[in-house]
Every structure is written in C-alpha cells, then in structure tokens.
C-alpha cells in the first residue's frame, strides 16, 4: 500500500513538474517578437526564434515581426489650387523596437490609430503644396506624384520611428478619385468633349470627301475637254486633207470642174417651185424653133 501511494505521488509530482515546465518555457516564432513581463512590467525582449525559458511568474506578450500593411479608408483632401480630391493610400510598416512600441502604441490597433494621424496630417500638408494639375497631367514629365509620395513617406517615416519605433517603409497612393459631388460636372465635361470630337471626325470626313469629289470632277473635265480638243484637231486634219485632195483634182481640170459643178447646182436649186422664163432663142429649144437647120446648119429648108 505504501508502495502504491509512492508511485501515485511520484506520477503526480512528474505531472506537476511537467505542467510547471510548460509555464516556464515559451516558443518565439519566426514571425514574432516576444516581450517578457513581470506583473505588467516589461523585463526583456526576445526576437530570436526558438524555445526560451522564463519563470512561471512571468507572462509573455507577442508582437508581429512581419511587414504589415495599413490601409485606411480614403479621405478627401484639398490641393494647393483649392481642388478637392479623394486619396486612397496605404502604408507598409513594421515594428522596430517592440518594447518602445509596446510602451507607446501598445498594440496593432493603437498603432493604426497613430498611423492614421501621422499619414492623414502628412498627406494633407504635403498635398496642399501641389496643384491638382501637377498630379493629374497628360505629360508624364510634369507628373509629381512620385515626389509627393516620396515626401509623404519620408515625413511619416521620421515621425513614426521617432514616436513609436515604427519603421514605415512606404506610403503609396492606391487611388485618386474625384469627390462624388464633383462627378456630375466631370461627366458633363467628358460628354461635351466627346461630342466635340465626334463632330470633328464627321466634319473631317465630309471635308475630305468633298475634296476628293471636286478633284475627281476637275480631272474628269480636264480629260474630256482635252479629248474633245484633240478630236477636233484630228477632224480638222481630215477636213483639210480632203479639201486638199479635192482642190488638187479640180485644179487640174478647172474648166471641166466648172461645167460639172454648175450642172450639179442646176439640179439642186431648180425644183418644182422654180419658174424659168425661156427665150425661144435658147439653145435647148433650138431644135424646136429652127428644126433641121439646127442639126444640119447650111442645109436648105
């Protein structure tokens, strides 16, 4: 019986030791800092991953060692030229000294509150030194967003490191928006611009089409008038040549030509409507008036 009690006590003792042991050891993960506190007062910081020892009276608080991202809701800001713009930015940050961080910011929530103050105030201040037209501009050479965000990053980095032992690696601009109340006027402007462009295209088309048609008509006229001119020349050549040929032939026998031509003329102009008064002396009528004597001159009647 005493033996049995002994083993019972021994096992209990082992169990108690194990449990106590668990309380004296803790694991520090790759991704975290661990601060060991004694009754709320920080005693030491552990950043080496692995298993570490403490007394069972000490407790641990863990902090994220990783790169964190802070993404506040977008806010409206005023540029130097009094334009409203909605800025959606984000910050990449990590804890430098967890102890200082713990004492100043406390935890992630607290840090984000502090970050909000810093980032908001810096963006507001720096943005107020730039015109909207230097941020939103069609020429990349004139764009100042890089400068703006670099300044904001630097200012925030200094303050965060100094005040909360937070290393801000980057503050960047996720999105730039125009405020809701301005949108309607922006849409109106966009619509008007599009209409202007559409009009321009159509006018261009008409102008160009007109030019082409006019040029075509001009060319057609030129081609046709040139062709007409040449045709007339050729015809003239034909006429001239034919006149020459006639002239050549007729001039070799002018007398005969006159005879033939006159007889042709008689045929043409002496028609049914013509009245001719013939004298009985006429050659044609000689046979009628003088009879045989016309045929045989010198013969007796």
């Amino acid at each position: 019986m005493a033996h049995k009690k002994d083993t019972m006590f021994k096992t209990l003792a082992i169990i108690i030791i194990l449990i106590l042991g668990l309380f004296c050891l803790f694991i520090c993960d790759e991704t975290e800092f661990v601060i060991v506190t004694l009754f709320g007062k920080p005693v030491r910081t552990v950043s080496q991953p692995g298993i570490h020892a403490k007394t069972f009276l000490h407790s641990t608080t863990r902090f994220d060692k990783r790169l964190l991202i802070y993404d506040p809701t977008p806010s409206e800001f005023l540029t130097m030229d009094k334009k409203n713009v909605v800025v959606d930015c984000f910050a990449c940050w990590k804890i430098i000294d967890p102890l200082v961080f713990y004492q100043t910011a406390g935890d992630i929530e607290g840090a984000e509150r502090r970050l909000y103050d810093i980032v908001y105030s810096e963006v507001s201040a720096v943005l107020g030194k730039y015109d909207l037209s230097s941020l939103i501009v069609t020429d990349p050479e004139q764009g100042r967003i890089d400068q703006l965000m670099a300044t904001v990053t630097e200012n925030c980095r200094v303050r965060a490191e100094r005040d909360f032992s937070i290393a801000i690696k980057d503050v960047q601009l996720k999105q730039l928006l125009l405020p809701q109340q301005n949108k309607q006027s922006v849409f109106d402007r966009m619509r008007a611009e599009r209409q202007r462009i559409a009009k321009m295209y159509r006018a261009e088309g008409e102008e160009e089409a007109l030019k082409i048609r006019a040029a075509t008509d001009r060319e057609v006229k030129a081609i046709l008038s040139e062709a007409y001119r040449e045709a007339q020349i050729i015809k003239g050549e034909g006429d001239a040549e034919s006149i020459r040929i006639y002239g050549e032939a007729y001039s070799q026998n002018p007398g005969f030509y006159k005879l033939v031509r006159t007889l042709e003329a008689y045929q043409k102009f002496l028609d049914e409507k013509t009245t001719v008064v013939l004298s009985s002396d006429s050659e044609l009528l000689k046979l009628m008036t003088e009879g045989e004597r016309a045929i045989f001159p010198g013969s007796a009647r």
């Binding site: 069609t138 040449e230 005879l259 049914e272």
Partner: protein
Amino acid sequence: MTKTTRGLYGHLLAWGKYLLLLALGLYLLSGLYFIRTFETGVLRFFGRVVSDHIGPGLHYTLPYPFTRVDRIRLQERKRVAVGFEFSDQVVGRRSNPLQGEFISGDENILNLEMVLQYFIISPVEYLLRAENPQALIRSFAKDNLTRAVSHMQVDEILKGEGKVFIQSKVLQQTQRDLDRIMNDRKWVQITSVNLQMVSPPLEVADAFKDVVTARQDRDRLINEAEGYRYDSLPKARGRAAELFHLAETYKLERINQAKGDAERFRKMAEEFNKKGKVTATRLYLETMERVMARIQKVLVQDAKGGEPLDLNIIDIEGMQ
C-alpha cells in the same frame, strides 16, 4: 480502503497506464505528415525555420506544438485583382463600387479592371516576412496603375497600344516595388499584367460610343468619295478614247471620200479630155432633162425689136 475499491483502483491504474501509453503513441504518430507533388513544405521547429524546401513525400517530425508545417505551391500561378473582386472572393465583404475608378491625365474618369499573375519564389519571405502578401501585391499594383493612368490621355488608354504600355509599366514598377519592400530580395515573380477591361463610366458611355461611330462615319464618307473617283475617272478616260476613235474614223472617212470623189472626177475629166465637146453636150442635156421635167416653164417668143418683156403677163399662181 475496502478490498473491492482497492481492486477497482488497481484495475484502473493498470488500464490507465496502458491508455496513457496508447495516447502517447498516438500523439507521437501525429507528427507524421506528407507533402503533395506540387507542394513545398516549410518546417518550423520551436518557431525557428529549419527547412524551407521539403519535397513531396511522407515525412516525420515532432508533433504540435513543437513544430509547424506550412505548405506552399511554388509553381502555382497566383492571381490578384485590381479594380474589382474575383467572384470567388467576395465573401462577407461589401464590394466597393468605386474601386475600379481611375482618373486619366486629362481629368476623364474611367473604369479599369486589371489582373496580375505571379508565382512565389521564396517561401520564407512569402509566408513569414509579410503579414498579408496578397494585399501588398494588390496595393502596389493599384498604386502603379493609378500613376500610369494619371499621366495618359483618355484616348491613349482606350487604344490597344495604350493598354499594352500600361500593362508593361505596371509589371515593371510593381516588381521593382515588391523587391524593394523586401530589402531588395526577390520573393515573388510577376509573370503577367492584364488590363482586362477599360471602359468609360455608364453615364457617358453613349458619348464615347458615338465617337467610335463618328470615326466610322468619317471613313465611310471618304470611302464613298474614293469609290466615286475610282468609278468616274475610268469612265472619263473611256469616253475620251471614244471621242478620239470617232475623230480618227471621221478623218479616215473624209479623206477616203475625198479620194474617191477626186478619183471619180479625174476619170470623168480624162473622158472629157479625150472626147471633149461631145461629153459636155451629153452632160448638159442629161442635166436639163432632169431639171426641165420638174420645173415650171414659160416659153416666150423672143421680141426681136427690143420691147422689154413684161413678166406680169405670166400668171405665176396659175401655174402651180
């Protein structure tokens, strides 16, 4: 203690020992784990990384809470959505309707949707150095998209070349930012950036569409005019050729006719020259024959005395 309770107690103790051993055994067995073919394992031993490239297969390590195994797929293309949400991700979060809105350099509002693809190069960095790597990548991508777009004209962005330009710029810049943020260590590799949607807001979509239509109208008008040109010029040239041809024909005909007439005259003249007076008389009488047949004739006795002929005695009307 009674004999029975002691016995019961003894039994419990005996069984308890075996149960304890069994529990211990099972617990130790839970340290077995396996890695699939397309996965890589990262093993943390008491919180410290001991291996970041455990290959596929069955492995053993101490069970929880002494160790932790994370699996990562190195070859898998991961996707990040900018300006919208993937349909399988909108869970419990209200989707922000403004998230796809961007401003161009000429203060036009556009809706953009972009998909970025990457794969993990360093498991340790991806798993253990950033709390939310997807959010990091997404935020930087959106930042670079905003910057790219705010320096371009809306017409450029809507064009194909503009999209390509933006995509490559965002890829380069985002890769640079991500490397920088991890102390110049390349922990992810962006493989592609795709601007899958670029569109003007609904309120002005019609106006934008009309510009496209206007461009088409312009082209159409010009094409029609060119068609007119391609039709008219050949026709004119054809007509010109026709005129030319007709003139040539006329010339030929005229000359040939002249030649023919001249030849005929020459032949007649030859005849006349041979037979002279007889030919002339014949021609004369032939003509008179034809002529006299059809004209109105008045035969008058020649007044050999010299009284002038009074034409009024001829009744012209009566002879019709």
